[in-house]
């Protein structure tokens, strides 16, 4: 058993070693000539016109949270959709129960007008 993990150990040592050596080589051998253009943040070739440290509307965070929630729903739905034919009716019932709970959550956030932007 333990021998099986030996290649993984070698692999991780090589990966860490390679990454470190690249970084160190760039640090010691690479020339460094700074200029204004080089130090600017890159914005798709357009000249930056604003500071990147801006305040975001707090709703963005809420949207992101809800995205994760319904993303996870998909994670559960896909394996269920692939295998539910082999399982009994209970599997169908259970998944709809799960969707029902999530649906109530969705109704709640809709009623709380989380998606209204004003």
């Amino acid at each position: 058993m333990k021998e099986n993990y030996f290649p993984i150990l070698i692999y991780s040592i090589v990966v860490i070693g390679l990454a470190l050596s690249f970084l160190m080589m760039a640090q010691y051998f690479g020339p460094r000539r700074k200029s204004k253009q080089k130090l600017e943040p890159y914005e798709c070739g357009v000249e930056p016109f604003d500071s990147h440290r801006r305040k975001f509307h707090v709703k963005f965070y809420l949207i992101a949270t809800f995205f994760i929630l319904f993303d996870i729903e998909t994670v559960f739905l896909i394996p269920w959709a692939v295998t539910f034919k082999e399982m009994s009716m209970i599997a169908v019932f259970e998944m709809f129960f799960f969707l029902f709970i999530l649906g109530i959550g969705l109704i709640y956030i809709l009623k709380k007008r989380v998606f209204d932007w004003d």
Partner: protein
């Protein structure tokens, strides 16, 4: 899915259904009526849960394994769940009207309490690592939000953030431990893991499994707030609204003890080196000493109750040690009795503290309760009684709880531990009585000049008062209930 299964998960179904319903009530019914409606609904939900738990306990003859061993409906789990539901019921009664002072939407608060209770019940009957972890998170996430439910108060926000970050940290330990155990045994169920750890074929991985168990125990010790991981307790308890503190100090702690007990009883025999046991002994001693001595120097009542909660955790750990020293026939009734009594008297003390708070101002320092016993004779009497009980003065249930724990420890020949426990309990009398002294200090306190107490605080504190007194005089009824 048959009738037995449905009956086994009935409390879970009730709590889920009512929790969701309360959310919908909050979303669809306008503010003024919503509050009362949500309150009655959640009260009915908790009472229904309590009734179904009782009927399960009464009709209980054999342990019921559900969903392929993911849940186990056994006597211990049910008894813990009943204590938890009782605590939640009292907290709900207390929160009526009070909740709108700390949060705009009462429905949110009630449904969070219900969901947290759901997580706790699932935790007490969980029988594999997956169910255990998911239900622990259901409970914890709800309580993280509850700690910060007062959004306008900086302290409440601080407490929620602290609890969230430290809680996430302890969860990381727990998950790492579960991963190690799974790696060492390839099993998820508690029983299967125990068998795998004890089997000869698995010997090379035994040390990895034990390491995993130790990491899991770190997570547990954080949740119950025992010695090396207790620093979050006073900060979080102080910042959170009193009503939430009452919930955390009683229900969350009971649920964490339930799963700690199940874990220890399943796994401690697998640890042949005896490391878990000796670690637990050291933790118990330090928790008792630390909690009591730190409580001596507190000037904030909520912090004082937090440190005294740590000390009580130490006493319960002592009872667990006593039960573990006789693995063939473990007697866990002292643990259950103590947790029941601790829940009752702590909620009672908080009921009086919340009842004495005016408007948004909570009772914080000793000065705030100065002379309360003269202004409100009944409130003062209850408060003095609850603190006598916490200190363990005879004729209160707190005394009986401590008595049974020390008796169990002595009969299992844990003399040194029992002596330390009794000595620290003597120390604790000082700070509990300090509160009683302030209650009856004769000086003007304008705080309570024109002030009438609401019925729900009186009801909650009166109920707990009766129960604590009753269990203090006739403890055998409590034993019969829990046995």
């Amino acid at each position: 899915m048959n009738i037995t299964t449905l009956n086994g998960i009935l409390p879970i179904l009730i709590l889920t259904g009512v929790g969701l319903l309360v959310l919908l009530v909050e979303a669809f019914i306008e503010r003024d009526r919503e509050r009362r409606f949500a309150f009655i609904l959640s009260l009915a939900g908790i009472i229904a849960t309590l009734v179904s738990l009782f009927s399960q306990l009464v009709h209980h003859d054999a342990d019921l394994l559900l969903f392929g061993g993911a849940l186990i409906v056994d006597h211990t789990g049910l008894a813990f769940s009943i204590i938890i539901c009782l605590g939640a019921l009292l907290v709900l009664i207390l929160s009526h009207r009070h909740v709108t002072r700390i949060h705009r939407n009462a429905g949110e608060f009630y449904s969070l309490i219900l969901f947290a209770t759901l997580g706790m019940h699932a935790l007490t009957i969980s029988n594999d690592m997956m169910t255990f972890f998911v239900s622990l998170e259901v409970m914890s996430v709800a309580v993280y939000i509850l700690a910060g439910v007062n959004r306008k108060s900086l302290k409440s926000n601080e407490s929620a953030l602290k609890y969230l970050i430290l809680g996430a940290f302890s969860t990381a330990f727990l998950l790492l431990g579960i991963a190690f155990v799974y790696g060492a045994t390839g099993q998820m169920g508690f029983m299967e893991i125990k068998e795998a750890l004890l089997s000869e074929a698995n010997a090379p991985f035994q040390s990895v499994g034990i390491l995993g168990l130790i990491l899991i125990m770190v997570g547990f010790i954080f949740k119950i707030g025992a010695f090396p991981f207790q620093q979050w307790v006073p900060d979080v308890y102080e910042g959170a609204p009193s009503i939430v503190t009452a919930f955390m100090a009683t229900c969350v702690k009971t649920a964490a003890f339930a799963i700690l007990l199940r874990g220890l009883f399943t796994f401690f025999q697998a640890d042949e080196s005896g490391f878990l046991m000796s670690a637990l002994t050291v933790i118990t001693v330090l928790t008792m000493i630390f909690g009591n001595f730190m409580a001596l120097i507190q000037s904030n009542i909520k912090r004082l109750i937090a440190y005294s909660g740590i000390a009580h955790t130490g006493y319960i750990l002592l009872a667990i040690l006593a039960a573990l020293s006789d693995p063939a026939k473990p007697d866990i009734t002292p643990i259950l009795f103590y947790l029941l009594v601790y829940t009752l008297m702590t909620v009672g003390a908080f009921a009086v503290l919340i009842g004495a708070s005016r408007g948004g101002e909570e009772v914080e320092t000793f000065e705030d309760i100065r002379g309360l016993g003269y202004k409100h004779k009944l409130l003062g009497l209850f408060m003095a009684f609850f603190f006598f009980s916490l200190a363990g003065i005879p004729s209160t249930a707190g005394f009986m709880g401590k008595f049974f724990i020390f008796k169990a420890a002595i009969s299992k020949e844990l003399y040194a531990l029992a002596v330390i426990g009794i000595l620290t309990a003597v120390v604790s009398v000082y700070y509990y009585l300090k509160i009683v002294v302030y209650l009856y200090l004769k000086e003007e306190n304008r705080r309570y000049e024109k002030y009438s107490i609401q019925w729900n605080y009186l009801l909650a504190s009166f109920l707990t008062f009766l129960l604590v007194l009753f269990l203090g005089i006739f403890p055998q009824f409590g034993f019969k209930l829990l046995k």
